[in-house]
Amino acid sequence: MVKVDGYEVPEGLYYTKDFEWLKIEGDKVRVGITDYAQKQLREIVYAELPSPGTTIKQNEPYGTVESVKAVSDLVAPISGEILEVNTEVQSKPELLNEDPYGKGWLLIIKPSNLQGELPNLMNFNQAVEWHKTLIK
């Protein structure tokens, strides 16, 4: 893991410019929001997430996170069917601030076209470079 000006960017994940991360776990993927996203939102008080079984599409909104002051769309990093939703972040949204890459994960998805869509995401090195441009 590296820190770009205080923002954590772990290795081994894929990233979108909508501030989400994606981790490949066998034939499934786990997704969440980045450290940069949670630090921009701060004090997240709600996470509105779809139910398991819902189909989501890459680059389309699937839910929202809200802080005291702001609302932000969650945008799907990949297409597929939602297998699992992290119900713990719904009851304890502060997990998104405390541990965005760990306990603050949002969904486990069965991707429908992983190989086709993965090139649309940034790998670790690209994400580090992109984070540097965000800070400027």
């Binding site: 008080v45 709600y46 809200e66």
Partner: protein
């Protein structure tokens, strides 16, 4: 290049706060975070820089008569070293601004306007001053202003003053020294809590030392109470929980004080004042819509402009303010709804993006006044 206005404490904020632009001023949004700052004020004490607000001094033998002609509340009842909340309206009864004003001496008043209305208020006062022997002086830029709010505000300030602050009653003020600086201290605020506002005279932005000195002394004195410097984020959530209006959101020139549930500052028995006829007419005919408190029963935060719908899904009004309440841990806000549906306890729907979420009309303040706010009966935790 840099067009934003700054307050006397900008140097401090720049180093310690996340900044935002409000009413053209670069102001602290938060230091530690909205929630901890909010809770510090509800449970103990917090300090705010509110130097961005407008301050206008009105003097002269006609000062009382002039203000009584322009504002809706009754100036004649106000004693020196006292403050009062009021609004002033246009001829149609629309609110020009809401504000607290002070009677400093028999013929000397200070008017504290919303930052967004600084120029508008000054111009409105000057425009209406024809025929009155008054002098209207805009002093905003040479006076810094702080708010020290919360159940431990008095204890905090007492440590840096040799005057007995317990003698200053609510909505009273007194000239005194705080941290060896000449100030006007008033027991007023915008949080619903016990607390004070501090006017630091002769402190222009070019020489902000007195403001910095008082700010630091307050933070130091409040340390044992866990004082937090607070930004505009917490200022907004605190005033919302207390049910207080924000000009530009909850009231403006298209709303009247009667619709805004501010009838208590409208003294219709007074002699002629600007907007009286329109307000009298509206009072006799009955208001068609009313500002109410909205508390979410389901998940979701009602934000300004979100639609309010009845149980048939018909739009009946809209939110004017809304936030997550750090104290109640749910969405709260204000809305205008038809008078026929404005009764407390009425269940309505707030359209949050594409979904309806149930909400209830509740009285102001949103919190239990026995436990929080200046009327609290229980000691702070």
């Amino acid at each position: 290049m840099d067009e934003n206005r700054k307050t006397q404490l900008y140097g401090v904020h720049q180093k310690t706060a996340k900044l935002t632009v409000f009413a053209g001023f670069e102001m602290p949004l938060w230091y530690k975070g909205i929630i901890p700052e909010h809770l510090a004020v509800r449970n103990s004490v917090g300090v705010f820089d509110i130097s961005h607000m407008g301050r206008i001094i009105i003097t002269g033998e006609d000062a009382e008569r002039f203000l009584n002609y322009l504002i809706t509340n009754d100036v004649s009842k106000l004693l020196p070293n006292s403050a009062q909340y009021s609004v002033m309206c246009n001829e149609e009864g629309g609110i020009i601004d809401d504000f607290v004003y002070y009677r400093l001496e028999k013929n000397k008043f200070m008017f504290v306007s919303n930052a967004t209305n600084r120029e508008k208020d000054y111009n409105w006062l000057v425009k209406n001053a024809k025929g009155f022997k008054v002098r209207i002086e805009e002093v905003s830029d040479s006076v810094a202003m702080l708010a020290v709010q919360g159940p431990n505000a008095e204890k905090t300030l007492q440590k840096i003053s040799s005057d007995d602050l317990s003698k200053i009653e609510r909505f009273k003020c007194a000239p005194l020294r705080l941290a060896d600086v000449d100030v006007l201290l008033s027991r007023t605020g915008y949080t619903g809590e016990e607390g004070f506002e501090v006017f630091i005279w002769n402190t222009p932005i070019s020489n902000p030392d007195n403001a910095v000195k008082v700010w630091n002394a307050i933070l130091d004195a409040g340390k044992p109470y866990g004082i937090e410097p607070c930004g505009l984020g917490a200022r907004d959530t605190l005033r919302l929980e207390a049910g207080m209006c924000l000009y530009g959101n909850d009231i403006d020139e298209s709303t009247t004080p009667l619709e805004a549930a501010l009838g208590f500052v409208v003294k219709l028995q007074k002699d002629n004042f600007v907007g009286k006829e329109a307000l009298l007419k509206q009072k006799n005919e009955g208001i068609k819509r009313k500002r109410v408190g909205i508390r979410m029963l389901e998940q979701g935060i009602p934000r300004p402009s979100f639609e309010i719908c009845d149980n048939a899904g018909e739009k009946i009004g809209h939110m004017t303010s809304g936030t997550f309440s750090p104290l109640l841990k749910c969405g709260i806000g204000m809305a205008y709804v038809p008078t026929s549906q404005a009764q407390e306890g009425n269940i309505l729907n707030v359209k949050i993006r594409d979904k309806f979420a149930k909400a209830k009309i509740v009285p102001f303040p949103f919190y239990d006044p026995e436990k929080y706010g200046y009327k609290r009966k229980m000691p702070p935790p």
